[in-house]
């Protein structure tokens, strides 16, 4: 376990460093003077420019600059936002919890809808199977930025069941209420993906020899399903969860934009449009770290649940 975990964490750190280095290289190679990004195109005095150059070490060589940024990150200094005129960490403080709520709610929905529909489709077969899979195929082609507006139009504007935009007044219950439609919009595509994967793997397990043997021995179907089919059949869901997490992390940008939610995703897009590099760099770092850490957790879970992985990497 220790060597397995050590290797995964090392790989994760390398990934994070590689991404931050890539972002820095791109900035280094970018056309124009980086100071233009910091002033966001606004006219400034030469003294202010010189101060900015000094503050961001723009006259230092590439690696000095990179390591001073990295050092800043470790001491909690993510730099100054040029377009918001404030510390990046202040911008993040209120937005991280919002996005976290959204992603967690969405993840729960994906698992509940995806697993239920996939298992039912595989076990029942017939018309239910065909209908579920046809719906899943259609839904997986609807991007979050379109489904968001369909949901707003139907459930917020026509039926009035949920609020259309924003996250309300800060009361936690009210926030959850506001986040139902955004989470659903974020969950739809991935739910279809999970449903299809679950159905395929449960059906594969159903046709295995040991399931036939158990049936012949007269073991109740309920027990066969829960002990033999689902236990093995649900493992592949873990292996696609990396893709699902990547989708969720990026998906927040679209959903928060559509529902006017002040979270990390909307901040990232707003900052990108303003070419506010300090903010984009900080948010990218947070998202990549979240992505890497969650993937390591998934691998550990896999290691516990599947003895085959354990024997391979012991």
């Amino acid at each position: 376990m220790r060597s397995f975990l050590g290797r995964r964490i090392l790989l994760g750190l390398v990934t994070i460093l590689a991404i931050t280095l890539l972002v820095h290289t791109a900035l280094y190679l970018a056309p124009g003077d980086p100071v233009d990004f910091l002033t966001a195109g606004k006219p400034t005095t030469p003294e202010r420019l010189a101060a900015l150059r000094a503050e961001y070490n723009l006259d230092d060589p590439f690696f000095t600059r990179y390591f001073s940024w990295l050092g800043g990150v470790f001491s909690g200094d993510l730099g100054q936002s040029a377009s918001f005129n404030t510390d990046v960490s202040v911008l993040l403080e209120s937005r991280v919890p919002t996005t976290l709520y959204l992603v967690v709610m969405s993840f729960i929905m994906i698992m509940v809808f995806g697993l239920t529909l996939g298992i039912v489709a595989a076990l029942r077969g017939g018309a239910i199977d065909t209908a579920t899979m046809a719906t899943a195929t259609l839904v997986s082609s609807i991007p979050a930025f379109v489904s968001s507006f369909v949901l707003i139009n139907v459930f917020a504007l026509r039926l009035g069941w949920f609020p259309a935009i924003g996250i309300g007044d800060g009361n936690p219950i009210n926030t959850l209420w506001h986040l139902v439609l955004p989470s659903l919009a974020l969950a739809l595509g991935a739910s279809a993906f999970v449903a299809r994967t679950t159905r395929a793997s449960v059906r594969t397990e159903l046709s295995r020899d040991h399931v036939a043997t158990a049936t012949v021995r007269g073991i109740p179907r309920r027990l066969i399903i829960s002990r033999h089919v689902l236990r093995n059949g649900l493992l592949p869901i873990l292996s696609i969860s990396g893709l699902i997490l990547a989708g969720l992390i990026v998906g927040t940008a679209f959903v928060e934009q559509a529902f006017a939610i002040e979270g990390l995703g909307k901040l990232l897009v707003t900052a990108a449009r303003q070419q506010d590099l300090a903010v984009v760099q900080a948010v990218t770092l947070i998202l990549v770290v979240a992505f890497v850490v969650l993937n390591i957790l998934v691998d550990i879970l896999y290691w516990y649940l599947d003895p085959r992985v354990r024997s391979e990497s012991a």
């Binding site: 379109v146 507006f149 559509a258």
Partner: protein
């Protein structure tokens, strides 16, 4: 071994018939042909000037001569949808072409050289494939400024590893076939075997995969335009129109957002279904 014998090892090529496309496959193909037609001739087909603004008609619903009504600036919505097809498809087309060519080349190199080359390339594909491509696109846009070209380049970097990863396993199987060994024994050059003999056998798989990828590319580039990081207004583009119609939707005028969004979804579904049917028809699932 003669060439005839070598050819015999390849086995009889499975002849595919278009009737195997099925009902849905034909519908998908028809929709794609229609969209392609609109993308090429949209500007000529548009009944009105897609850029002529008349605030008096802002958000007015369908009236005779204007089947979809008007957008938030009083421009004819139907004309903008027709004209928008071009910018909504030209990006995905470049993206799919470039990433398919690059991905195929990398996959063939990995499958042909095997050993360390394959191990190194595969590890790189795996890492790059797992990373969210849109995040990379947003970073590049921040640095180089929003434009369709930057969006295409960024997504090419994200799509190529996925393409290469999928093709590699098929290419590996193909390069391990008897006929390849036979050609090698006969002293044919590597490049000639790969390009003249291996590549044609992989083509059905590559084409089906490219068509499926086209669907995703339409949604991803449409999404970047929706975020304001791709095609820039006032150019008519379906993704940008979904965003432009959002304030209207909240006031009870959902037509622009829903019409542009439906076009994107219809295109994505059609490419997905057609690619899937072609793959099944050619037996390369």
């Amino acid at each position: 071994m003669s060439i005839a014998q070598a050819a015999a090892l390849v086995g009889p090529r499975k002849r595919s018939r278009l009737s195997h496309l099925g009902f849905l496959g034909w519908i998908a193909l028809a929709i794609i042909i229609l969209f392609a037609f609109i993308a090429i001739f949209g500007a000529a087909l548009a009944p009105h000037d897609p850029d002529s603004i008349d605030i008096a008609y802002a958000n007015v619903g369908p009236i005779p001569g204007h089947p979809l009504g008007f957008d938030e600036l009083g421009r004819d919505l139907f004309s903008r949808i027709l004209v928008g097809a071009r910018s909504s498809f030209i990006g995905p087309m470049m993206l799919v072409l470039i990433s398919t060519v690059l991905g195929t080349t990398l996959a063939l190199i990995a499958a042909w050289r095997r050993g360390w080359t394959d191990a190194g390339l595969s590890a790189a594909f795996d890492i790059a494939f797992a990373f969210p491509g849109l995040l990379l696109a947003i970073v590049l846009v921040t640095i180089f400024g929003p434009s369709l070209g930057i969006a295409v380049i960024a997504l090419t970097l994200a799509y190529t590893p996925g393409m290469a990863r999928l093709l590699r396993s098929t290419a590996l199987r193909e390069t391990g076939m008897e006929y390849v060994k036979a050609f090698r024994v006969m002293g044919y050059g590597d490049l000639r075997i790969v390009i003249r003999h291996v590549l044609p056998n992989l083509l059905p798989f590559i084409i089906a995969q490219a068509i499926i990828t086209f669907g995703y590319a339409t949604l991803d580039l449409g999404g970047l335009s929706f975020l304001g990081l791709g095609v820039q207004p006032p150019t008519a583009d379906w993704g940008a129109m979904v965003a432009a119609g959002a304030p209207g939707l909240l006031q009870g005028y959902p037509m622009q957002t829903l019409a542009a969004g439906s076009c994107l979804v219809l295109a994505a579904v059609s490419f997905g279904v057609l690619g899937d049917r072609l793959a099944r028809m050619w037996g390369v699932e």
